[in-house]
Symmetry: C2
């Protein structure tokens, strides 16, 4: 079992029930947009406000604990920071999947082909998920 409390502390974020719930939800669901988070947290905190979600998500992004994934034609989603990876997004149902393709080799190729020093990625691949193909 993951200890969200100490995880928050590690990132110098004060522990509040709302924050724990955010981390918990993201940990369970992988990717969520602001509204997803809001709806989930409303169940636990009937009077929580959207502003609280925004403030916390932004604070967590600042601590490099969360990251925002920008996706064409949809709202951004947020996820706990982990290894570099790419995202598959279904253009039909909107489902999102992580994929561990060899990002490292892509980065090396890009570094060599350009004069940039690359340190971050936002890799989104769009298409149809297995379910929507049927």
């Amino acid at each position: 079992m993951t200890n969200y409390t100490s995880l928050l502390k590690d990132y110098n974020l004060k522990v509040t029930p709302q924050r724990v719930a955010i981390v918990e939800e993201l940990s369970l669901n992988g990717h969520m947009n602001i509204d997803d988070l809001y709806k989930k947290l409303l169940a636990k905190f009937p009077s929580i406000s959207l502003a609280t979600i925004y403030k916390n998500v932004n604070a967590m992004i600042e601590k490099v604990f969360l990251s925002e994934v920008k996706i064409p034609n949809t709202k951004s989603v947020f996820e706990l920071v982990k290894n570099e990876h790419a995202h598959l997004v279904c253009s039909s149902c909107g489902s999102i999947e992580d994929i561990n393709l060899n990002v490292q080799s892509v980065l090396e190729e890009a570094s060599q082909a350009s004069a940039f020093t690359i340190d971050s990625t936002n890799l989104v691949l769009g298409g149809l998920c297995p379910n929507c193909k049927k």
Copy 2:
């Protein structure tokens, strides 16, 4: 010299001076956000409105003539649709460069590793451009 007029016609977009100017600017600059476009067009059409820019950009996206590139921590930029490619974005000065890394192999790898059928990409690599490294 590129003929922007017939290019617009090819995409079933009525030819207006404003549209020609948008295509021209994008063609010259590669990537521009809405404000960049607005400022440039203001020079040619002192009474152009932001709404016109938005309407045209959206119309062109709908015709798959333009595409929007979503970039972390900044506004989206728009570009004329061309071959699949990745984008390098300087986190210091914001400059954007196209890079023709081997997207095809990435797509194949991703297709095999997942059950998705992939048909579009939004690949953004962040880092420092040669100028900002100094």
